[in-house]
């Protein structure tokens, strides 16, 4: 159909980018294809046109939108700039940072929209409830602002105990009213859900990103060993555009190559093994010591601050911040210490980098963990203190009430009984009053205890802030000042500062990424207790982005040992996932294990934080739901579910394992295939180069009987060749030019070979080669103008190929009987045969060319038709031509059946399959209406014939074939050609499907002229050949006259048809 043609064009358009052509050619092909699409798309139904236009518009709009979105990708330009200066390694850090920024934005939106905003809008206003008022003494201290020094104190006190403590920043601010506002927003529930959703979202995004990355990188192939190849071919970072970076990159490449050479050569370090091992042990001990030391220090500091807090009423700035300062200091100093230690070990640089990363990660984790454990410890003691407090107060209450009762009872007895009832009433009143006062007293006391959740959140926020300060300081001091010093003092120093000791700061990608991960871990840890932490982190990341990029561009040099962890690498992400999991644990633990603070926060008054869920389910959902939930959470359901999960995991894992095995097997297969492909190619080439005789040999085995047949058999090998050609172009969709070359190449040597072959086989070969060459020529000349209309045919390469295969054995069979046949037939069959083979070569290349080939290889009489002056008539014959080459050898099958009965069934079955493969082909290009009509009339007429023949055909095979010509409409010509009675009907028959195609109708009239001329030319050749052939048995004149008559007859016929 036309639609298919358009599809082909579209495919061309779509794939053009992947073609390694120069742009000029691309543009040309693209323009052509587009023209066709535009031209014919409108010819399809109008709705389709609208559809197309709509889809086009939609695509355009989406493209524009996408471009706009790209514009808004934050820091894209900045990152690109860094990338261009320092290569993609450094840029990957910033991309990672940006990605984290995105995550934090989402987290911020989540917490902001569902927790902070509702609380601010609908929650109890500031100062109304106790948890939202600042105690008087704190208020006083929060507002003293005397000296510069106290500014810092005030800042910190703000964070600690000032306004901020009683703000939406922290857990404690949120009210525990179940529903707030007029809409009844369930804030506590939302708080809990969002807290969990933060983790869930992080997990999901992380995992998705990782999955995407692993899909991008051919993960399974990484175990293949191409170390040297990659070192050489993939070493250069084509994004580097800075001489310094280029130099360091070059150094790094030399380094890595040397290292891998040394790995190969197994030349180990010249130090003795004992020293080395002892050194390494020492280094590890040092690292372990520093790790434990840092953990101990953190624990100690937390403990100390706790004690200080209890002892002293007013704390200094240092005392308040020492925990976070110490933690930040450790995180800053320890990595450098580790680096120093790592120099002792003398590992391979890559290994040492890995060790370094692992150690730093452990350090960060240890820091965070010891901090949170110390904090939770504190929380524990705090909550126990609270409970003690509570019991104290109750006992106090009891004593008071008892004493009052005693008092009352002692005072009152002497009052008369009448007053008794009233007295008891007053007594009760007094008691309740007392109770109230006691409770109030207790409340004022307990107000001193901050809620532990707020406390943890505060610590986290403090840590984050201090960490930011330290990062900024380190960037400014270590990188910037150092850079300044190195640059400007190197002249007045006795050694070269730039290359010797201080150097410029290197940008250590891995460490910096780890620091980012650590930072994010802090956020995850504290997000539940301080809902605004993600928002703060967003700000921090933005600041970091600008500062870092500035620092990198101004005062850093890229790291020499680039840790290869790019976008497609999951290394960072794996670490981040690890961090997320480990940071989630303490939070979850705290949520599950500890009792929420009694008097602050959304969960105050509950036994456990997660009780909010069960409470909501119990109270606010219908009864059946809670029932269902109780069932679902019962062990009856949970245990099987767990089991199922395990089974699922096991199943998936086994599948993954089997897939891996398949993968490796496929890879092996691929290797084998590439070997065998090479072998085929080699064989092909050797065959080409070898003389004709070698080509014939395989065929000679099949039919040795006569020289003729042996000579003829030159065609099958060619077909083989064509098949091999065929495969590659179809698969690769390569350019036409290369294929024409491959076509012409086999042809020429054959022709050369053919000239050497004896006697009357010679002309045949000669002719054949001529034909094929000419057809190739024709194809190339006229192919360009005709190609459009024939593209729809390109869809069928597979079926063609199948036919090709089918026809191959057929040929061999037909060849055998041939030597007993009249020469004309053999000649004809031969031509068809040849044509067939050559045609296949060209089928593969280009449809248009194939068509031409067919027309060229057709029998002479049909060529004559092409000479018809009228355009329309011309078209018809070409249609006829197109498929005629096939009939000849078809028509031989009956002969076969006549002569060799035993082969008949086979051949007939083959034929059936042949026809089947042929039938589905009809594709009609019905856009040129007038011509289409003509084609149609002919078509119908021919189909009538076809009907006749179709009926006869089955019987034909055993019956007398001479009868057929009479039923043929082309009576005269068939009558003339006594030599070819079999051919004629068959051709007619075959014409029918070709006519249904009628795609030749779409031929531009301009191309027709050219074609007709070329056709003529070929015809001459054919005639010549006929003479030569007919020498063998028939007279020239007869064959010639038959041809001529034939031509005239058909012409008449066709005209009448029109």
């Amino acid at each position: 159909e036309l639609f298919q043609n358009i599809q082909v064009q579209k495919e061309i358009i779509a794939n053009i980018r992947t073609k390694p052509w120069p742009i000029r050619r691309k543009l040309k092909v693209l323009k052509q294809a587009r023209e066709i699409v535009l031209k014919y798309e409108g010819r399809l139904t109008r709705t389709r046109g609208y559809q197309a236009a709509g889809a086009d518009l939609l695509k355009k709009i989406s493209r524009v939108l996408y471009n706009i979105v790209v514009l808004f990708i934050p820091w894209e330009m900045r990152i690109k700039k860094i990338e261009s200066h320092f290569g993609s390694g450094v840029a990957s850090y910033f991309i990672f940072l940006r990605w984290l920024f995105g995550i934090n934005i989402v987290l911020t939106i989540m917490t902001g929209a569902f927790i902070v905003l509702p609380e601010l809008l609908a929650g109890a206003p500031f100062g109304t409830t106790r948890s939202k008022t600042i105690p008087k003494d704190h208020l006083a201290s929060a507002q003293d602002l005397d000296t510069i020094w106290s500014l810092g104190a005030r800042l910190s006190s703000l964070i600690f105990t000032g306004y901020l403590q009683y703000s939406v920043l922290f857990y404690g601010y949120y009210g525990n009213v179940r529903k707030i506002g007029s809409a009844g927003y369930r804030l506590p529930l939302a708080y809990f859900m969002v807290g969990m959703a933060v983790f869930a979202y992080s997990f999901i995004t992380l995992l998705r990103k990782m999955a995407k990355n692993s899909r991008m990188s051919l993960a399974g192939a990484s175990d293949e060993n191409y170390t040297f190849c990659w070192r050489v071919f993939c070493a250069w970072d084509y994004l580097i555009g800075n001489p310094e970076a280029a130099e360091s990159k070059g150094a790094a490449i030399v380094n890595s190559i040397r290292v891998s050479i040394s790995c190969i050569q197994q030349t180990q370090i010249n130090l003795s093994l004992a020293v080395l091992i002892s050194l390494r042990i020492l280094a590890n001990i040092l690292v372990l010591l520093s790790l434990t030391g840092s953990i101990y220090i953190i624990y100690f500091v937390v403990d100390r601050s706790q004690k200080l807090e209890q002892e002293k009423p007013e704390l200094t700035l240092w005392e308040k911040n020492e925990v976070s300062v110490v933690v930040s200091l450790i995180t800053m100093i320890a990595p450098s210490a580790f680096e120093l230690v790592a120099q002792l070990e003398m590992y391979h640089p890559r290994t040492s980098l890995r060790f370094q990363l692992a150690r730093v990660l452990v350090l960060y984790l240890g820091n965070l963990y010891s901090l949170i454990i110390a904090l939770l410890d504190k929380v524990n003691s705090m909550s126990s203190a609270v409970s003690r407090n509570l019991s104290d107060s109750t006992s106090y209450l009891a004593t008071i009430s008892q004493s009052t009762e005693d008092n009352l009872s002692t005072i009152i007895p002497d009052i008369t009984e009448r007053q008794n009832s009233t007295l008891t009433r007053t007594l009760l009143e007094m008691q309740s009053l007392l109770n109230h006062t006691v409770l109030y007293e207790y409340n004022t006391r307990s107000q001193q205890d901050p809620c532990w959740e707020t406390y943890v959140g505060q610590e986290m926020l403090k840590l984050s802030i201090i960490d930011m300060i330290f990062t900024v300081a380190s960037i400014l001091l270590i990188d910037f000042i150092r850079g300044l010093v190195v640059r400007y003092l190197s002249d007045c120093c006795c050694w070269d500062l730039e290359s010797k000791f201080p150097e410029y700061g290197e940008f250590k990608i891995a460490e910096n990424v780890l620091h980012l991960i650590y930072n994010q871990g802090m956020i995850w840890m504290g997000a539940f207790f301080s809902p605004c932490l993600p928002a703060f982190n967003v700000l921090k990341l933005v600041g970091l982005m600008y500062l870092r990029s500035w620092a990198v561009l101004t005062c850093n040099v890229p790291h020499q040992q680039v840790f290869r962890a790019s976008r497609s690498n999951n290394f960072y992400l794996t670490m981040l996932l690890f961090m997320l999991f480990l940071c989630m644990l303490p939070t979850i633990f705290a949520i599950v294990r500890y009792r929420p603070s009694q008097y602050c926060g959304p969960f105050s008054g509950q036994e456990k934080i997660y009780d909010i869920i069960s409470e909501t389910i119990a109270n606010d959902f219908p009864l059946w739901f809670s029932k269902v939930m109780s069932y679902v959470t019962s062990p009856v359901v949970v245990l099987p579910a767990l089991l199922l999960l395990f089974m699922l995991i096991y199943y998936l894992q086994s599948i993954a394992r089997s897939l891996k095995v398949t993968n490796s097997q496929l890879r092996l297969q691929l290797q084998n295939v590439s070997y065998s492909k090479l072998n085929i190619i080699m064989m092909y080439f050797t065959r080409l180069q070898a003389p004709e005789g070698s080509d014939k040999k395989p065929e000679q085995e099949s039919d040795i009987t006569s020289m003729e047949s042996s000579a003829r058999s030159a065609s099958p090998p060619r077909r083989n060749g064509s098949i091999t050609n065929f495969e590659s172009p179809v698969r690769h969709g390569n350019s036409i030019r290369t294929i024409t070359q491959s076509v012409s190449r086999p042809d020429i040597p054959r022709a050369a070979g053919a000239t050497q072959s004896p006697t009357h086989t010679y002309p045949c070969h000669m002719l054949h080669s001529l034909i094929s060459r000419h057809s190739g020529y024709l194809g190339s000349t006229s192919g360009s103008c005709r190609s459009k209309s024939y593209h729809n045919m390109a869809y069928k390469p597979c079926t063609r190929y199948a036919e090709n295969i089918h026809s191959d054995p057929l040929f061999r069979k037909t060849l055998r009987p041939m030597h007993t046949e009249p020469a004309v037939i053999t000649a004809q069959s031969y031509v068809g045969h040849r044509a067939h083979s050559t045609r296949y070569v060209i089928v593969n290349e280009h449809e248009a060319r194939k068509k031409l080939m067919r027309s060229n290889t057709r029998l002479p009489r049909h060529y004559r038709l092409a000479d018809e002056p009228t355009e329309i008539v011309e078209l018809y014959p070409r249609n006829v031509k197109c498929y005629i080459p096939r009939p000849p050898h078809r028509s031989h099958q009956p002969h076969l059946s006549e002569e060799e009965e035993e082969e008949d069934p086979k051949s007939s079955t083959r034929r059936g399959s042949f026809r089947q493969s042929k039938r589905p082909r009809p594709l009609s290009d019905r856009h040129q209406t007038t011509q289409f009509y003509i084609g149609d009339t002919i078509n119908s007429q021919l189909s009538m014939e076809q009907g006749l023949y179709g009926d006869e055909e089955e019987g034909d095979q055993e019956e007398d074939w001479v009868n057929d010509p009479q039923t043929n409409i082309r009576g005269p010509e068939s009558a003339h050609r006594y030599g070819e009675p079999y051919v004629k009907p068959k051709t007619k028959h075959k014409v029918e499907p070709s006519l249904t195609e009628s795609d030749s109708a779409s031929l531009a009239s301009s191309s027709d002229q050219q074609n007709s001329s070329t056709d003529q030319y070929i015809q001459v050749i054919h005639n010549k050949k006929k003479y030569l052939k007919s020498n063998a048995k028939l007279t020239k004149t007869k064959s010639k006259s038959s041809v001529k008559l034939n031509v005239s007859g058909t012409n008449d016929l066709v005209c009448s048809n029109v």
Binding site: P22, L58, S84, F233, W236
Partner: protein, 171 residues
């Protein structure tokens, strides 16, 4: 349907081309006319192409210019220039990149990467810092690893097979 987008939208193409044209022209304003309607034959010499910041520090800059230029000597027309940028751009398909990478490394244009090509590559890459022995060894290793058909040199298929598996290639 809207298949044009698979290459470029026309505006996009225009934008790219215009931008690249300005880049191209900025290299030598005196050589390149602003009016390209009558397809003038303008070639920029390699010295100018190689001094672009994108290529300036690339050890293979000359080779890149040679591969993409029509005359094979690094002198580029505007079309060559566009070609080069389209292949080196982020959006270029992987196979195309591999194909051109192969061409770039194939110094003697014989469609195979043989040892001499490899040596040249290595020397360019490392700025002649490796000793001859080392270079020879690396070359042997490379061919050993990637040469699937054992013909002692790397064909395009070998190369593609190897390079699409490289972890960093897709960047």
């Amino acid at each position: 349907m809207g298949n044009k987008q698979t290459i470029f939208t026309s505006q996009q193409l225009d934008a790219y081309q215009v931008r690249l044209f300005h880049r191209y022209r900025d290299l030598a304003p005196q050589l390149v006319p602003l009016d390209y309607t009558n397809q003038p034959e303008v070639r920029l010499p390699y010295e100018l192409i190689g001094s672009m910041p994108e290529l300036k520090d690339n050890p293979f800059r000359q080779r890149i210019a040679e591969v993409f230029s029509e005359d094979g000597e690094g002198n580029m027309t505007l079309d060559d220039f566009l070609d080069m940028f389209s292949v080196l751009s982020e959006m270029a398909p992987r196979d195309l990149k591999a194909y051109y990478a192969f061409k770039i490394y194939d110094f003697n244009n014989d469609d195979f990467i043989c040892k001499s090509d490899l040596e040249k590559t290595l020397n360019k890459l490392t700025r002649n810092e490796l000793t001859e022995d080392e270079v020879r060894m690396v070359c042997e290793k490379v061919i050993d690893e990637a040469d699937l058909d054992n013909d002692g040199r790397l064909s395009l298929e070998d190369f593609q097979h190897m390079i699409v598996r490289a972890p960093d290639f897709l960047r």
